[in-house]
Symmetry: C2
Amino acid sequence: MSVTLAIDAMGGDHGIVVTVPACCDFLEKHDDVKIALVGDAELLKQALSQFPNALTQRVEIVPATEVVLMDDPIEVALRRKKDSSMRVAIEWVRDGKADAIISAGNTGALMAISRYILKTLEGVDRPAIATAIPNELGRGTTMLDLGANADCEPMHLVQFAQMANVMVQVVDGTANPSIGLLNIGEEVIKGNEVVKQTSELLRQTNLNFYGNVEGNDIYKGTTDIVVCDGFVGNIVLKASEGLAKMMSGMIREEFNRSLMTKVMAICAMVPLLRVRKRVDHRRYNGAVLLGLRGCVIKSHGSADRFAYGFALDRAYEAAKNRLVDRIAQAFALEVKE
Amino acid sequence: MSVTLAIDAMGGDHGIVVTVPACCDFLEKHDDVKIALVGDAELLKQALSQFPNALTQRVEIVPATEVVLMDDPIEVALRRKKDSSMRVAIEWVRDGKADAIISAGNTGALMAISRYILKTLEGVDRPAIATAIPNELGRGTTMLDLGANADCEPMHLVQFAQMANVMVQVVDGTANPSIGLLNIGEEVIKGNEVVKQTSELLRQTNLNFYGNVEGNDIYKGTTDIVVCDGFVGNIVLKASEGLAKMMSGMIREEFNRSLMTKVMAICAMVPLLRVRKRVDHRRYNGAVLLGLRGCVIKSHGSADRFAYGFALDRAYEAAKNRLVDRIAQAFALEVKE
């Protein structure tokens, strides 16, 4: 079975400069992949001409005249830019011409247009954004929601857990993944009202519910999945990015302080690069928009060619393993039970 | 003016082993400090005997027969252990015998007993926990609430901002500190309902309200103060601790990998230690329980002698600068206006 990926080639901070080379790299690795590059046909043709014909013959250029900008309000992206590369790429999935769509564009717009074009799966009230975060165990902790739903009711969080449960089984191959509910610890009140109720509901499901976890458990890898609302999830993710950036900035600064420390930096290069590799967020690029009637993958806006490849990997694995069908089945069973 | 600090000498993971030496270090640095060590009189006497008389003559041993354990439920700590070192130390502040109380014990119990014994200030609905977090600018970002209030209404968050505003002016000496409201960014919905309403209320105050900030702004130091509810604050704090621990663990691991990398570690020691010093959470030890009729400082439970000293510093600065009176004044003005 071949997999066709529809690419919002114009999306993200870098657009074609990143998407086209990353797609060609990907085609080189996978014989069974076809790619639909959606965007400015002229520019795409030009960009593709740099790559060998053997690869580009598996690429179809799909013209789209508009681009959703990173700061476009959702309304503009959804209502006014009907021929955007993002939207046309999503339509390819709706029409069954592609198995997944990947975009590095505006997350809000991607979610809104995907919901509008693809619709949500039966039984899913709200789609959520899930991604893997590096942990001490060297695998990823899958966390959701990362910003699609700021206010959540307990039932929504339970659905997030159900969707992530399928995703981690299907894409990461982890049988019966453990699920933690993000909560606060020793402090005065153990959790807010929503979390308390969610905990009770999760105990009634047949999910492998571990119980509450705290912020540090994300990085410890205490559970395979960590569930929270999009407000908390987004803030934790951004705070982590900020802290990691601060720490690596300080390491750079201290090693750049003098000629002496620069020499030390050369000495310490190998272990420091190994650390960087282990926590390199680029290797974890590719968030999945779960709960839609189609496979939608969000790449980080600032992704480079290397990082974008990981988003393509995620899309490929999700499509090949029929993630959307599997989630639909899980929810159909749930409804029957 | 001399400052008297009441110490819950038994509290925390280490108790007397840490609190007594840290207090003696502190007495050595400050001629104007007296210390009331609350706890097991025999053990305290013994521990103090190791230190020179010149210091210990400024120490009073206050006997208390019980200890609040780290995992005691709040109800037990509050209702059953009426002669706990934590409670007796707090009573010293209530009775005007001490200017501040410091405890490394159970946070929930400390907050509950403090509220019960000291009461909250006029105009403050809910006390909050505030601490400084290291940022890229090399100063601390003051963040609150860190876990006292899981569910907050907009008015509570506004009060947190008002209290932190006084604290940062009085303790850190920052004039007109900027205040950010922790929110989510580009994603689908900009903030939850509580945050949206809080933002409007904050705009109506005379505080230096910067507007919304995202998780990474905590570490960028975009604003002097970051306000959020205790659920989000606690999770962000714990997640940050977890990430920092993971990263330093990985650095240690990579440098320990072989004889070669161990030699590299020696070469890289100086810059790496400098980085560690800059982000050393021990230097930021000492959270303030704001909004009470008395100065209550929470040290990290696992604080060592060095870290505990910073909590004492915080208590000393807060007491000397009459933090509680200044907050009371600010709220009195607020009510009059």
